[in-house]
């Protein structure tokens, strides 16, 4: 039973769900250790490749676990690995959200809400800086980010798809020039 690859996937991935404090970046090191070194489901090079794929496709970068599940046990493996990663933290978030919304309006709720809000804003901006750091495309990424920021400040209802296209266009233009 414990040799079943699906069970193995759950045992490796589910605990990481609750370890992902401050976003998924916390899980990549233990995930790599478990899947490459311990279980040898894939090589280190394959891990890096899957990591890159998960980053450039839509959805959370942590969907690398979906790909690992796919490699280990096909579509069913992909499904099991995805659920193993997202269910534990989602259940926790649901429980907290429900409690949280139930006490809306009470004094301590307002205080916690107001106290956490600037921290949430700080994390949001820090998260953006972290992404620019990971993307590793240097000053051009910063320029695009600030152009988009300027457009949104000026025209707040600009459609996001247009903004993403502006980013892609600038990068393509820069590539053509260089």
């Amino acid at each position: 039973m414990r040799d079943d690859p699906l069970i193995q996937l759950i045992l490796v991935i589910a605990p990481l769900s609750l370890l992902a404090i401050g976003g998924a970046s916390a899980i990549y090191a233990p995930l790599q250790q478990q899947t490459v070194d311990v279980h040898q489901w894939l090589t280190g090079r394959e891990f890096i490749e899957l990591f890159a794929i998960a980053r450039v496709t839509p959805g959370p970068g942590s969907m690398i676990t979906t790909l690992i599940g796919w490699k280990v046990a096909g579509w069913l493996g992909a499904l099991v690995a995805t659920l193993a990663l997202y269910i534990p933290c989602s259940v926790l978030c649901f429980a907290v959200a429900r409690t949280w919304n139930r006490y809306r309006g009470s004094k301590w709720h307002t205080a916690i809400e107001n106290g956490l809000r600037p921290i949430g804003a700080g994390l949001m901006i820090a998260g953006g800086v972290g992404m620019l750091r990971i993307e590793n495309s240097g000053w051009l990424a910063w320029i695009v980010a600030f152009i988009v920021l300027a457009i949104m400040t000026w025209r707040s209802m600009t459609h996001p798809m247009l903004l993403l296209a502006v980013g892609a266009g600038i990068f393509l233009a820069a590539r053509a020039v260089s």
Partner: protein, 204 residues
């Protein structure tokens, strides 16, 4: 902006999350979520949204999926959370596997990396804008500004681990926001969301 009179249909919630999921490149998609949920559809107030974001960012897990769970819970309880999460993940689930199957062709396409890099950078710009909005809407007092700057410095610049940073900053920031007598007016002037009935109690 008020809580909608009719409950949001699960189909509408799924469809919104599906679309956001398809375009959630680079992770900075919270801004799109905010636009659709708060500004276009009026399903939540700014306060409710940003309050949810704080929770989503602090709790373990991925910000975007946590945010979907929060929005779904707020609108429709447990079934809403499940719907939102499935909506957000179903398209990326298929796309990421399809991309892995054809990865070696994809990576060889001229300009592929540039397009992806540009999209990710633009998404970060959207996130910056949202962070600024949240900061501006926050309680306008000095401790909040200090808490924001300290959080950004610790996580964004120093890259310290989140948990110890939170354990220090969150209690201080909450204590500084505790309503005192001089703040009563501000508390009373808070918008209508305090009057709205507790969400999700019907689904509990």
């Amino acid at each position: 902006m008020t809580t909608p009179a009719h409950p949001v249909s699960l189909f509408a919630l799924y469809r919104l999350c599906f679309v956001v999921g398809v375009f959630s490149f680079g992770g900075g998609i919270t801004a799109w979520f905010h636009r659709e949920v708060v500004k276009v559809r009026g399903w939540m107030t700014d306060d409710e949204f940003f309050s949810g974001y704080s929770l989503a960012a602090i709790l373990p897990g991925v910000n975007s999926t946590n945010m979907a769970v929060y929005v779904g819970q707020h609108l429709r309880g447990a079934i809403g959370s499940i719907t939102a999460l499935l909506g957000l993940l179903s398209a990326p689930f298929v796309i990421v596997i399809a991309a892995a199957a054809v990865y070696h062709h994809l990576a060889g396409l001229p300009g592929f990396a540039a397009v992806m890099g540009g999209i990710a950078a633009a998404a970060v710009g959207m996130l910056f804008r949202l962070g600024m909005m949240s900061a501006r809407n926050a309680h306008r007092h000095i401790p909040s500004a200090v808490a924001l700057a300290a959080t950004f410095f610790a996580i964004g610049i120093m890259q310290w681990p989140l948990l110890p940073v939170l354990l220090v900053l969150a209690p201080l920031s909450i204590a500084a926001s505790w309503p005192r007598k001089t703040d009563e007016k501000t508390a009373e002037a808070k918008p209508a969301d305090e009057k709205s009935p507790p969400e999700g109690s019907g689904n509990a």
